[in-house]
Symmetry: D2
Subunit: 360 residues, 4 copies
């Protein structure tokens, strides 16, 4: 890494600080022990050029960040490549819509930056799976080259590749909660895939984004629960590619919970032959032995309150009386381990720092 | 009343059924015992001409109304005067923005309809108080004539006038909760107005309307409380005119509660001379002796859960040890007694029916 | 039915009015058009003898019932058989814990009353399934006789038997939402049971009862979601017996939602051969053709807000691209169609009234 | 301070870690930069001797603390003076009921510890104000001596005294939010006290404690708002003593909000002569110039979301058109600046550390 050759401290930048994931990134990076003295360059929505010209205090957008470790002095700027160049940004976080990330990442790489993209723009290898995003660059050689460089940024699965990546596709929030819970079991071959895996997932409202819509109106979201994206949610492709399944082998249904943040996924699968509680516990523990941000529950089940506002993914499970069926409960904070926290985890790996630095 | 001369059943219409108050009106009117067999004509937002052309099932907008007492067959139409005329509408409810109500009411009166307007368009007699609405008709003779006809539709205060009104200005939700609690005391002259009355009011999110905004986004409204409209809320004029106060004699602060519906107003006032709990209780009971929709609490305080989804206004109070100060708690459902329920109460009075018919 | 032979109006009684389901029963019965003039006899918790001696106003326990259709005058009494006899109670609702219902029902039958029991005491035919309740009467001939008389009170499945029953075991709330959604499909033989049915169910907090516990504390329930009773919930036996499944053929996981009321069950199943959306829609519509309280969604999915505070069960579904998998969403209000509403539906059948009277 | 004379690191202990404030204290102290390497001794409820014998992992009570900075290894012990002595505890936090604190504090002082008490046991100087707590030691010389030593632990008012205190009475949560907002204005003599100050305060449910009660049941607290303790709340004495008011000069009404945490107090007062926005802003800024944990808003009002999970008190205000009336909005997190955060702020002062260390 060129980084390690110099003594210049890392200069990060965050595009899209005005959104929920961007705000969490701001919070994490400002307090990151390795970035003390070199706060990130904060950029707003790329379409907000006028409002942000000359910069506005970050605390106008996020009052809760005011005066805390000097964040009150930090400013939010409009996007230009020149602004990033002036500040010698070497690592760029994209907390932008997937269409924007699809456009911005190749240019950033060309300009020598490393990119951690929080959108779905670069997560999927298969053209077929990617179709759901309707990118208009599918025939472009630049897009194809860039895509081939992208590393799926789930440290628990791809730690080595991430360390050397130039473009990291930070995983989807639902996908993270499901892949972490299912992959260790499927990997060993004990899961009967012909019966299909069921992933019944529930997410807080921050997952639906900051733009006010009928769906995110308090009157609709409160005192309610609704399923959506049935058989069609965008994160499905990540499940197929990362776990290694055909589309018939997993059924994923997201639901909108009346809470601000947190995901709980309930996973149902069958084993070829009976498994004991202990064998499954051992299997999880071995799989995550080197993973500081995954907590395996010995005898209880995680709840959303256990992970909200933390960077952990928590996993617990029950085995049926005859050992042939498992119910796994997987929880995380959709804005942290499901987005900004995992992005910082990837930043740590990129720079050879402790994987959980600034995250506990 | 021409109505009483004929045997033709009453034909009502509701403009603005797509909003929260309009939906509650639809629900109340469909089940109103006096309107069985002649359901209201339902009209959407006046700007939604295309979407509603030819009518759509009401249950598409309000699924919870489907199949219930035949509401599933009711249709929602776009607005034209001709449509109302074809159906011989004689009573028109306006659940429309105040600008629209200000335009529509005079025309409806001209066409011989009686109008119950749920907006703030016609509530205020004083030009000065009305300035907050910025109507562009202040110099118009038609507006002035219409305004002079308008009756403030609070049955507990203006029962007799309402019975003979052509245009009823249905009160604001906050104003209803405050006026009902304060008027009986101020009326008697026992309140020391020089010390000022404080009205600290808290409302659920439905009071902020159905349009998705940053304020009504679940992420802002949930787990939060905020004051707004400090020294400037539109309902202040109603307080001044109906209670009979100068602007210096009452301070009104609304707050946004993280709940769907309900208002609780906490009122603070001082007496010239000491009052006993019993004297105040008697005073309230006498004032509301003929009012079936106001409940006076003998020894406890009302809470929002006591009134949510009911048409009641509940009032309780405490007197300080020396009898010189009172704290009054006044609760109602902002969409019912604070809007649609009070509108139906006015409809009942207009037609000589029992004041609480269809409301208990 | 002896009832129809006389002209004496029906006299009902409710035991356990202090709980949530009991309160909903009170509300429904007080407004039931067939019971006007003969309000139910209201009895509190059977252990509350002292507090209720001589009766207390019902509105002390349920302030929201005060003054509404005279409910304010209704009184809540302590339990004695004599009190029921004096009032000539002929139909007794038990909104009591299952241990109490197991004791009280045989005695009530002996005294000539008909019983609608809302607890789990009499729902299960199989001794093995019943073991979860740990009744200490398993060897008792009286219990066995009574059990053999009990009819599972789901009108959509057992309408004819319910009409002639003396003891109705009102179904569990989760069980109702799952059975109504799954039974019509399993019945036809199209479901591949070897793959197993998954029932991922989520319920509001009222399902956990009125007793304050760590689980129902606002601080635990709010901003949270938790799974519980994994592989062990009491309602499982109802699923097995009523749908006709072995315990390996269905996996049921309840979750606690941070909302007051409502259940949403997401059901996953596989078909032997591909099914079209239309064939499944037809199948549901035919199954529920005579059922006024089940609403089948043509093209969307129900949400909890569609059913909260109603007596309906709403069912919607999606079929996978190849027609081999279905996801069904089933919603109801756990206190109404899942408890008190279904109990009144059973009362209606018992008396030959319209099945949905007093419920729309 | 004897502390500064030695190089031994500070050894703290927390009694009552099982409650909400105790848990927040645990979280703050474990991460406090000055306590790295010497985690606090954690003690449970003083009546939980058996359950905690030998100690249990802290994460059993607070799963969210597990594995975070080693907290997973920390243990929770039962209370004995010997246990504290063995660990050379020099600073004892009491997160205990006021009766317990009243008993324990004198003994702890005798044993040479400094005490920071989070209960109401030692906050009130006046016997009359203290009557509300019904201590049975009012005639005891030891209680009187101890009381005379107690310093009201609000750093913004009593910074110098706190630095040298042996017993700190950490302020009440409501009292903190009100005193900080009102004291700076009353101090200058501009407030017309004859008109009375109104403090309408609203708190999240954590303020009601961890014991499950009818009041803290989700079904009561959610979708509700209720006033309580009208004219009688225990924190009133703190307002009188710290602001310097007679009981007739302030009216304080607390309300229970349907949110987990946070207090918003809306304060109403009148000035003798007109004040400008700027003069009030200057006055606040000067008063809090040396106070890092109070944030004064220049032109907007604070909301609960701005302070939840922070250690700040936020203050904003509006002045009426004629400058004679002010509405002040004061927000804080009841468990942090209103309890545990302020306790750590006091710890910092006691030890000559930066007042906000470990709190930003």
């Amino acid at each position: 890494m060129s980084k390690s050759a110099t003594t210049r401290p890392l200069q990060t930048a965050v595009l899209g600080v005005t959104g929920y994931a961007g705000a969490e990134l701001a919070r994490l990076l400002v307090r990151h022990p390795r970035l003390v003295g070199t706060p990130p360059v904060f950029i707003g929505r790329i379409d907000e050029v006028d409002r942000l010209r000359g910069g506005i205090p970050l605390s106008e957008i996020h009052p809760e960040l005011a005066d805390s470790r000097g964040t009150g002095d930090l400013r939010l700027h409009s996007f230009t490549w020149e602004h990033l160049a002036e500040h010698n940004v070497d690592t760029l976080f994209l907390a932008t819509p997937h269409e924007s990330s699809r456009e911005l990442a190749p240019e950033a790489l060309k300009r020598g930056m490393r990119v951690i993209d929080l959108s779905g723009a670069w997560r999927l290898n298969s053209v077929q799976n990617r179709a759901v995003y309707k990118f208009d660059d599918e025939a472009s050689p630049l897009a194809a080259t860039t895509q081939s460089e992208a590393v799926y940024g789930m440290p628990e699965l791809h730690r080595a590749q991430i360390r050397n990546a130039r473009l990291i596709a930070n995983p989807g929030c639902y996908a993270t909660s499901i892949i972490l819970a299912v992959k260790p079991l499927v990997n060993t071959g004990i899961v009967d895939l012909s019966a299909g895996i069921i992933a019944d997932a529930k997410s807080g409202v921050s997952g639906a984004g900051k733009t006010p819509t009928a769906k995110t109106h308090f009157m609709h979201a409160a005192d309610n629960l609704s399923a959506y994206g049935v058989f069609s949610h965008r994160h499905t492709g990540e499940l197929l590619e990362q776990i290694g399944l055909t589309s018939d082998q997993i059924t994923f249904t997201p639901h909108l919970l009346p809470i601000p943040r947190g995901i709980l996924s309930t996973l149902y699968l069958r084993f070829h032959i009976s498994q004991s509680r202990n064998s499954i516990l051992t299997l999880y523990r071995e799989f995550f032995a080197a993973s500081p941000l995954v907590r395996i529950y010995e005898s209880t089940l995680p709840q959303i309150q256990h992970v909200a506002r933390t960077n952990y993914a928590d996993i617990g499970f029950e085995i049926s009386a005859h050992g042939k069926r498992a119910i796994i409960v997987s929880c995380l904070d959709n804005l942290l381990k499901g987005a900004a926290g995992q992005a910082v985890q990837n930043l740590n790996l990129l720079n050879g720092w402790g994987e959980a630095e600034g995250l506990e």
